[in-house]
């Protein structure tokens, strides 16, 4: 347990310090959302209708952008080999790393959501709904994305290949995240059903993600 908490503390500390790049994700999120009014025109009614979709898409792309760092830096300086050989089960270590990554890179996105909701003319309830769905959904993005990150690090290919592998897996999260937020704003569906499915997706990814990532690291790293 202490080993895992030490790992989490270390990863968060590295991510937040100079060269960590966790906060670049927030900056990217901000830039994507600011770009949208230029693309669709500064029509406030249209923006408030598209708002949840824009925020979700921005968060998805931002979390994809930072995923590269999940294993790559540790692989380069050799600490990934130490983690693989340590007495802690690799699955748990992967889960701890993903949790740390989410705390450092995913949580700031949710904190930034109210500010960006203001830019997109979303009212209080809508912003709250989007923030809540992001809180429930972004862990699923991190934990499924971890599989792609583990594959990419074992193949020494990051970037585009990882995006191609991870994005199809994140489509269900996007569907139910946007559906739940839209349900609050326009109805007619209830908020509960898509939101419960979103939570279920996150819970499934907690189980599948670490095992798949650990299997990929075990079989892939020579």
């Amino acid at each position: 347990m202490t080993a895992l908490s030490a790992l989490i503390r270390r990863d968060i500390r590295i991510a937040l310090r100079v060269g960590g790049g966790a906060l670049i994700g927030v900056l990217f999120f901000l830039t994507v959302v600011v770009l949208m009014p230029f693309a669709v025109g500064p029509d406030l009614a249209l923006l408030s209708r598209l708002g949840p979709a824009i925020l979700w898409l921005g968060a998805l792309l931002a979390s994809l952008l930072t995923l590269d760092r999940l294993f790559m830096a540790d692989h380069e300086d050799g600490s990934l080999d130490l983690i693989t050989m340590s007495r802690t089960p690799l699955e748990l270590a992967c889960a701890a790393k993903a949790l740390a990554h989410w705390l450092a890179a995913g949580l700031p996105l949710i904190v930034a959501t109210p500010v960006l909701g203001l830019l997109l003319n979303l009212d209080m309830v809508a912003t709250g709904a989007v923030a809540l769905t992001l809180l429930a959904g972004t862990p699923a993005l991190t934990f499924t994305g971890m599989i792609g990150a583990a594959l990419a690090v074992t193949l020494h290919r990051g970037g585009l290949l990882m995006a191609v592998l991870v994005l199809p897996l994140s489509i269900p999260v996007l569907i139910f995240g946007v559906a739940a937020s839209q349900a609050v704003i326009v109805g007619p569906m209830t908020f509960g059903a898509p939101f419960s499915i979103l939570c279920a997706l996150s819970l499934v990814s907690f189980v599948v993600g670490p095992f798949a990532a650990a299997a990929s690291l075990k079989h892939g790293l020579d």
Binding site: I147, A150, L151, L155, V164, P168, I171, A212, H219, G220
Partner: protein, 263 residues
Amino acid sequence: MTLIDLANPTRFLALTARALPWFAAATGILLAIGLYQSACAPDDYQQGATVKIMFIHVPNAWLSMFVWGVMSIASLGTLVWRHPLADVAAKAAAPIGAAFTFLALLTGSLWGRPMWGTYWEWDARLTSVLILFLMYLGLMALWRAVDDPSRAARAAAVLTLVGAINLPIIKFSVDWWNTLHQPASVMRMGGSSLDRSFLIPLLLMAIAFTLLFVTLHIAAMRNEILRRRVRSLQMMQASRIAFSSEMGAGSREGNASNEAGAA
């Protein structure tokens, strides 16, 4: 005759060389009978002649999931049993599965135009099959991105097993969500709701398509084995040329090159 006996690629090649013509002939005969029967099937009272698209569409859709299932078993073979031909099977199946999935989407959209009034609808079944298609393409990209086949095999196996979660979602999407795509009518509790005049040609076509997949898969596996042999022969030849030219240069230049190497 077990799966282990096929582990030797030479034995596999010899065995499939004899079996492949039989599979191909059976596929051709069954496809001919199935197509004839489908052409002779009566028109639907609601859908008219467009119902005949079903005889192509449904087998393609079944096969698109079946092929991922085959790849999942092959991936288990790669990761768990370390069967030498499992990754060959998984690699050879991916493009075939992608083709079946693409045809299922294409025929479905051609069928949807007269029936639903639209080529595409973002309904649960259609979306989940589209995700399956994207995952096939991603898997093929993964195979192509890495030049070492055994390294690519293990990565692709993990991704295949993760993607297998999508299969039950596709199968039950029409039951879980009330959508435009009609619910299951052949394989369901309480027997098929399809009339016999449609069911028999459909089952014939399904068997024919499965045989078509088996034939194509075995042929693709043979090609993959031969491709790997060619590759290793080329590597051996390249290393031999490099080695002999190195030796030749060393003997001609004598001590000069040794001194250069030391410096």
